[in-house]
């Protein structure tokens, strides 16, 4: 055991070091994108200034001095990174508050949507997947496989629109828009999250069903399962302990990977469709208000979150499976 501890510490240090490098890579890429892009943050002012008939060139100089745009590019980069590190993430023009404040009031809406959808998808997906694998080639298995194929292929933003059309417009069961006046921890809030959670969760649910099924089937054919059955263990123990635990490991990677790649993009769209004021929605509003700082910050935050999730996944892994060693 002490052996393991020492290499694990080295491994975590190494991963943290990589994470720092990747974080700098993320910062650099967004910095370059924003600087190379044809429209600078100053442009948004200028349109207004010109409209009011003021002297544009003077205002340009003032804005450039204010944002440090007149300094050499490396100094701008250092300032940019320094500001982010100090927690100064910029000023949101459209809402007239610091971006950090904006994020603080809105992150919870994204968080609840993402957590509820992931839990819904993972629990249901794993259950259906196990059932499908245990009853392979049964009618239920065929239906589940077929439905999961449809679930994977259905564009989630269209699914959202169709759910609104059916349940809100035609049947009038739900409101078409998310109501922020409802307290977060209440049944009414849970009710209005049903459609968004289905919208975001269906794709994941289908994916997890498929992965669980194939991971379970892989392990069901292994020798140790035959041994477990031969020594007379009840089927429940064989499936739950011997097969499922071994299938769980690849599943966790996929769930974590999804959290990064699919969920963030999916949540972005889901929030827009249902008017949930999470990070995706404020970024979407910022795009049409030309509020630069917000759009960039939401991208950065998502990237950093994914970085953290990946790091945590790798470390959790070593605890879940003692055989794994990263050298």
């Amino acid at each position: 055991m002490p052996m393991k501890k020492s290499w694990l510490r080295d491994y975590i240090i190494k991963r943290l070091f990589y994470a720092v490098i990747i974080a700098f890579g993320i910062l650099t890429i967004t910095f370059v994108l924003v600087r190379v892009g044809p429209s600078s943050p100053a442009d948004k002012y200028l349109a207004n200034v010109a409209a009011r008939g003021q002297d544009v060139s003077q205002v340009v100089a003032a804005i450039e001095a204010r944002h440090g745009l007149d300094k050499p590019i490396y100094e701008q980069y250092i300032n940019y990174v320094g500001n982010l590190a100090r927690g100064d993430w910029g000023w949101s023009f459209s809402t007239s508050m610091p971006v950090t404040e904006l994020i603080k009031t809105h992150w919870i809406y994204s968080f609840q949507l993402i957590v509820l959808s992931s839990v819904f998808a993972a629990l249901l997906g794993i259950l259906i997947g196990i059932y499908s694998a245990v009853r392979q080639y049964s009618k239920t298995d065929y239906i589940a496989t077929f439905l999961s194929f449809i679930g994977i292929s259905i564009p989630n933003f269209w699914l959202g629109v169709m759910l609104i059309l059916l349940f809100s417009v035609q049947l009038g069961l739900f409101k078409t828009y998310y109501d922020t006046s409802i307290p977060l921890f209440s049944l009414a809030n849970l009710k209005q999250l049903i459609l968004p959670v289905i919208t975001l969760g269906t794709g994941m649910l289908a994916g997890y069903t498929r992965y669980t099924r194939s991971a379970m089937l892989d392990n069901l054919r292994k020798e140790f399962v035959r041994t477990a059955r031969a020594k007379g263990l009840p089927e429940r123990t064989v499936i739950g302990k011997h097969v499922f635990r071994n299938a769980l490991l690849p599943l966790i990677t996929i769930i974590m990977f999804d959290l990064g790649s699919i969920v963030f993009g999916g949540a972005y769209l889901t929030e827009i469709i249902f008017g949930i004021p999470g990070l995706g929605r404020i970024s979407f509003n910022a795009i049409f208000a030309d509020d630069y700082a917000v759009v960039v910050t939401v991208t950065l935050i998502s990237a950093f979150l994914i970085l953290m999730i990946n790091l945590i996944t790798d470390i959790t892994y070593t605890y879940l499976d003692p055989r794994i060693r990263y050298d």
């Binding site: 990589y18 490098i21 990747i22 890579g25 993320i26 890429i29 967004t30 994108l33 924003v34 892009g37 044809p38 429209s39 194929f149 449809i150 994977i152 292929s153 259905i154 564009p155 933003f157 269209w158 629109v161 169709m162 609104i164 059309l165 417009v169 078409t176 990064g260 790649s261 963030f264 993009g265 999916g266 972005y268 769209l269 827009i272 469709i273 995706g280 970024s283 979407f284 795009i287 049409f288 759009v295 960039v296 939401v298 991208t299 998502s302 990237a303 994914i306 970085l307 990946n310």
Partner: protein
């Protein structure tokens, strides 16, 4: 044996012509590009350059090896044909391509607004709509029946939905095929170079891949399209330039085992250059993987473009499915069919590519009993 000799012969004969055509064509393209930049009148839009360049590369580098290994392809076709879903997928994709190629010539202009015929339901449906009558100053209900001229109905501006769907098929396929082409080509190059050269090159490229993978694909896409403007050319380029990471990793792990094989060693011993080993030995050996990855990444690309258009970051000069869906979402209570039709097309397209990709993967996998 004769087959291999013949394919070698074809490859050699094609090689010289291929270089010549490539040089001539890039010279022509370069000249027109210069004209386009310095002379005011536009000959081609940037997107057309992309189409020509990618089309040429696909024909010159794709057709000869396909022709040379036509017996192998026939073998794979026989295997793939047994998967009915894959064949159905292929049939739908061919139908879609045909629709995209000739459809726009047969239908009305998808952008032509006609407020006389707005919110017409699809043929066979009748809806009640309340209309404000300025003379009596009252709302009266009017029933609108679907008509022959608009089989799928019209939207709130009276634009023909069928024409919009067909125009959208063209956009989706263009984006799907070309962006995937760029992404898969980049991923293949980065993956093979990384695996073959190893060492610090491998390390640097893979760390870069890690960085790119850390960005949530869609949110990065939104940021870049927002910064650089919503033009189809930019959307295709950006999806292509950001979507290669998964391909690079898969191709790298596949190539890692290839690089130590005897035929690569032999080639190296005979003095082949690194670029020749990569292009002539490594890439052709992962070609089946490349085809499967490409087929399975097209749906994601099509969906990404549709999602961009859906949130209002699509190219406003073309009619795409995402855009129609956006218009439909805003008028769900008056014209439900506008939101339904593009979604069904998107769904079927994605399903078709997924079925075909799965079928191809099984057909290429020698271990799977088809």
């Amino acid at each position: 044996m004769t087959d291999r000799l013949e394919s070698k012969h074809i490859a050699r004969k094609v090689g010289g012509i291929r270089k010549l055509v490539l040089i001539l064509l890039s010279a022509c393209l370069g000249l027109t590009a210069l004209l386009d930049i310095f002379v005011v009148e536009k000959i081609f839009s940037p997107l057309v350059y992309l189409y020509i360049a990618l089309g040429t590369i696909a024909v010159l580098y794709g057709v000869p090896p396909l022709y040379a290994s036509r017996r192998l392809i026939q073998y794979y076709w026989v295997r793939a044909r047994r998967n009915r879903l894959a064949v159905a997928g292929l049939a739908f994709i061919l139908f879609l391509i045909l629709l995209a190629l000739i459809g726009p010539f047969l239908t009305a202009d998808p952008t032509a607004a006609n407020f006389e015929e707005k919110n017409v339901p699809p043929q066979g449906f009748t809806i009640e709509e309340s209309v404000y009558n300025p003379e009596t100053q009252q709302f009266t209900t009017k029933s609108i029946t679907g008509m022959r001229q608009h089989p799928l109905g019209t939207d709130n501006k009276g634009r023909d939905l069928l024409a919009m769907i067909i125009s959208g098929a063209r956009i989706s396929l263009l984006v799907g095929l070309f962006a995937t082409g760029i992404a898969v080509a980049m991923g293949t190059l980065i993956g093979t170079i990384s695996a073959y050269l190893g060492g610090w090159v491998d390390n640097a490229l893979m760390r870069f891949t890690d960085i790119m993978m850390t960005f949530p694909f869609f949110i990065l896409l939104v940021l870049i399209v927002y910064i650089f403007g919503a033009k189809l050319f930019i959307i295709v380029l950006v999806i292509g330039l950001t979507g290669w990471t998964g391909t690079a990793r898969l191709i790298r792990s596949e190539t890692l085992s290839l690089r130590t094989r005897e035929f690569v060693m032999a080639s190296k011993a005979l003095g082949a250059s690194d670029s020749r080993i990569i292009l002539a030995h490594l890439v052709p050996n992962v070609i089946s993987l490349i085809i499967v990855i490409a087929t399975l990444s097209i749906p994601g690309v099509i969906l990404a473009e549709a999602a961009l258009s859906f949130i209002g970051l699509g190219d406003p000069s073309v009619t795409s499915w995402g855009m129609v869906l956006r218009a439909g979402q805003q008028n769900l209570d008056t014209a439900w069919w506008v939101a339904v039709a593009p979604g069904i097309m998107l769904f079927l397209t994605v399903l078709a590519f997924n079925f075909m990709g799965d079928g191809l993967r099984d057909a290429f996998d020698p271990r799977s009993a088809v």
